[in-house]
């Protein structure tokens, strides 16, 4: 990459065309363009509308349970013997992950736009559950597209969505994971443009989604920044989050981007290792390309065909990443590192036993990075990590790997 001049602020992106440097943009079929422009206009208005913001904040407090606590993980800190470790407890949110922050925001927007039908894609099922939840709360029908492979490995979440009144459509195309679900949701949207709102679950897709989802998730970082200042009187040395599409990570990172002293680390799914295609490390082992409406780092072959990837965690099993992460990587503001399946699995077990918190497999990747990093840091240093989801949904997957039938 060429040397790009350092911007005055890392927080001003994207530009009006939805670009973060060369990343982002609006690579969609013409059918969707008018909708995306309409959505952008409506989002601009809502963003600056105190009534919208108040409704969002009220639901955040009383429905989601915000602010989520910032927790000092004393025993993990002692165990690792280095930096002080804090967790932003997004797993305590209603529905068990950060996904609900974005869903509440977008359903308010859908309502404002007069849309009467919600569609969503889901990988692990966390976004599907969050979408089904807000659709139930606002009385709108909801269709969730989910890869057939994921339907199988995330059965409890499928049942949750159905209980909430959503229709779950298994997608068999491709390898039946998140990318295929997203293709199918886009097809639905192209077909039902008039009444349908597409509730994208991560900070990716065509502009304005990456910006909008980030802004709905930035509540994580804004709270965390205030909370750590309150607890420690200073900013953390490192913030860490797992990255699939990257919404929990960008939500934590964004409010810290202009704090020069804060190192930012995104953790990608290294799967079985970066040799070959059994991973989902788009930045560490992929290259820039265009998929699902944006330019970003992707797993692809020499012909520009998208590869399937692999992760133990369904939520990270996506061959791309939000465009803002690609930009933050290329300008050097954030660092992205891979964590393998087995490392995440060990971290999952360690945290469960040391802190009495069963994390989801997605943030288990971030925990594994904390485990590597903390011992090398001084005891006066601070790591703040986003504990983005709880692990109840994953106990079946973990049980299977550990040879325990459930």
């Amino acid at each position: 990459m060429n040397e790009t001049p350092k911007p005055n602020s890392f927080r001003s992106g994207p530009d009006e065309d939805g670009r973060f440097g060369i990343f982002g943009g609006r690579f969609v079929a013409e059918t969707l363009m008018p909708l995306i422009l309409e959505l952008q206009g409506e989002w601009e208005k809502a963003k600056n509308d105190p009534v919208f913001q108040k409704e969002l904040a009220d639901l955040g407090t009383h429905y989601i349970g915000r602010p989520s606590p910032l927790y000092y993980a004393e025993r993990l800190t002692e165990h690792l013997g280095g930096a002080k470790i804090y967790f932003k407890r997004e797993e305590l949110n209603h529905t068990g992950s950060h996904k609900i922050n974005n869903c509440i925001g977008q359903i308010l927007l859908a309502k404002r736009m007069g849309k009467t039908r919600i569609i969503a894609e889901t990988g692990a099922g966390q976004h599907g559950v969050a979408s089904a939840t807000v659709a139930a709360r606002f009385g709108l029908p909801c269709v969730v597209y989910m890869g057939a492979t994921d339907v199988e490995r995330q059965a409890p979440n499928v049942f949750r969505m159905k209980l909430l009144g959503a229709e779950v459509i298994p997608v068999t195309a491709g390898s039946g994971t998140l990318k295929d679900a997203m293709n199918e949701a886009l097809r639905d949207w192209v077909t039902n443009v008039d009444d349908t709102y597409y509730l994208i679950g991560t900070a990716a897709g065509p502009h304005p989604y990456p910006e909008m989802v980030r802004d709905f998730q930035a509540v994580i970082g804004m709270e965390a920044r205030e909370q750590i200042l309150e607890a420690e009187g200073r900013l953390p040395d490192v913030v860490i989050a797992a990255v699939g599409g990257g919404s929990n990570a960008i939500g934590l990172f964004h409010p810290f981007l202009d704090d020069e002293s804060v190192k930012i680390v995104g953790v990608e799914a290294g799967g079985h290792g970066l040799d070959g295609n059994e991973h989902c490390a788009s930045i560490t082992a992929g290259s820039p390309g265009v998929l699902h409406g944006n330019r970003t780092y992707l797993l692809q072959d020499n012909d520009g065909q998208i590869l399937e990837g692999h992760s133990i965690s369904a939520g990270l099993d996506y061959p791309g990443i939000g465009p803002e992460h690609s930009w933050l990587n290329d300008i050097g503001r954030a660092e992205y590192v891979p964590i393998m399946d087995n490392e995440a699995l060990e971290a999952f077990q360690l945290l469960t036993r040391l802190e009495g918190i069963i994390p989801a497999l997605e943030p288990s990747h971030a925990i594994a990075e904390v485990i590597k990093r903390a011992p090398k840091m001084g005891k006066d240093q601070i790591i703040l990590m986003n504990l983005s989801g709880r692990g109840d949904k994953d106990i079946f997957t973990v049980g299977k790997i550990l040879g325990v039938g459930l």
Partner: protein
């Protein structure tokens, strides 16, 4: 240089009939068979060829074309080989316009400048890139137009009068009106709506307007042909290919014949349509 595209549409206008624009997937199910299909298209009455470039994630296509793309990729098709198809075809036919249709990423990875050059050398006349709306014109549209490739744009019922000039601004060759919202290969739309929409587009441009998505029979082709400068048939042709294959997805002796018989039927329909009152 008068382009093959302009020459072809001028000729059809003189004949007073709409164009039959036929889509097939390059490399489906293998290179040689799809070359056979491509050669059979003009012989069967196709006036313009849309050559599909397979992509792993065709977001705006229905299951029929998705599966065709998967078959082609499984058969080893690449963007370079799709250009080879055109090159091989051009050895015997230097008149039928060829439009490449597909998604941007394989082109982006191939390299835009190299792609435009190689496409011209291969005898390509135009491009339809589904996921490059006018907002993204700097990516490929502008470089392609500068070198003499047509950039054909899709307009849809959601493209309102305000947006139409934006969409048409850098369009050349013809305008491809997607006659209904939705993915390729869905149900047939109302033809009276089509003539209105075609008239609306024509009030903004002198380019021919071809209508696609949903044409399955000679009667459909005739009805739409009466209202437009061209009829685009894609999914129904790809379905003919699919229907002729073995259970393992391999070509049979019938594959090329199935397509050419079907296209011949469409051509009869199109040729019996009359252009709407020439303006």
């Amino acid at each position: 240089m008068t382009s093959r595209m302009d020459t072809r549409f001028a000729k059809l206008k003189a004949e007073g009939r709409p164009a039959l624009v036929t889509y097939f997937m390059g490399g489906d199910p293998d290179y040689q068979t799809s070359l056979g299909i491509m050669k059979a298209l003009p012989e069967s009455g196709a006036d313009v060829i849309e050559l599909g470039m397979p992509f792993s994630d065709p977001m705006a296509d229905g299951p029929t074309i998705q599966l065709a793309g998967q078959r082609a990729l499984k058969g080893g098709q690449t963007l370079a080989k799709t250009l080879d198809l055109a090159r091989d075809f051009r050895k015997a036919d230097n008149e039928t316009p060829i439009v490449l249709m597909g998604y941007y990423n394989p082109i982006y990875i191939y390299g835009v400048d190299r792609f435009v050059e190689d496409a011209l050398v291969a005898g390509i006349d135009g491009l339809i890139i589904v996921d490059l709306p006018p907002e993204m014109d700097d990516e490929l549209c502008i470089p392609a137009l500068a070198k003499g490739l047509n950039f054909i744009r899709l307009t849809t019922p959601t493209t309102d009068g305000k947006r139409l000039p934006t969409v048409l601004k850098n369009t050349s060759g013809f305008v491809y009106y997607v006659s209904m919202n939705g993915i390729t290969g869905s149900a047939l739309p109302d033809t009276s709506l089509i003539s209105g929409a075609v008239a609306r587009i024509k009030s903004h441009t002198d380019l021919p307007v071809c209508v696609g998505f949903g044409v399955k029979t000679a009667d459909h082709a005739k009805a739409i042909g009466a209202a437009a400068d061209g009829v685009v048939v894609g999914t129904a042709i790809v379905a003919q290919v699919a229907g002729s294959l073995t259970n393992d997805g391999a070509a049979t002796a019938d594959t090329v014949a199935a397509v050419s018989t079907f296209v011949r039927g469409l051509a009869t329909g199109v040729r019996s349509a009359r252009l709407v009152a020439a303006e």
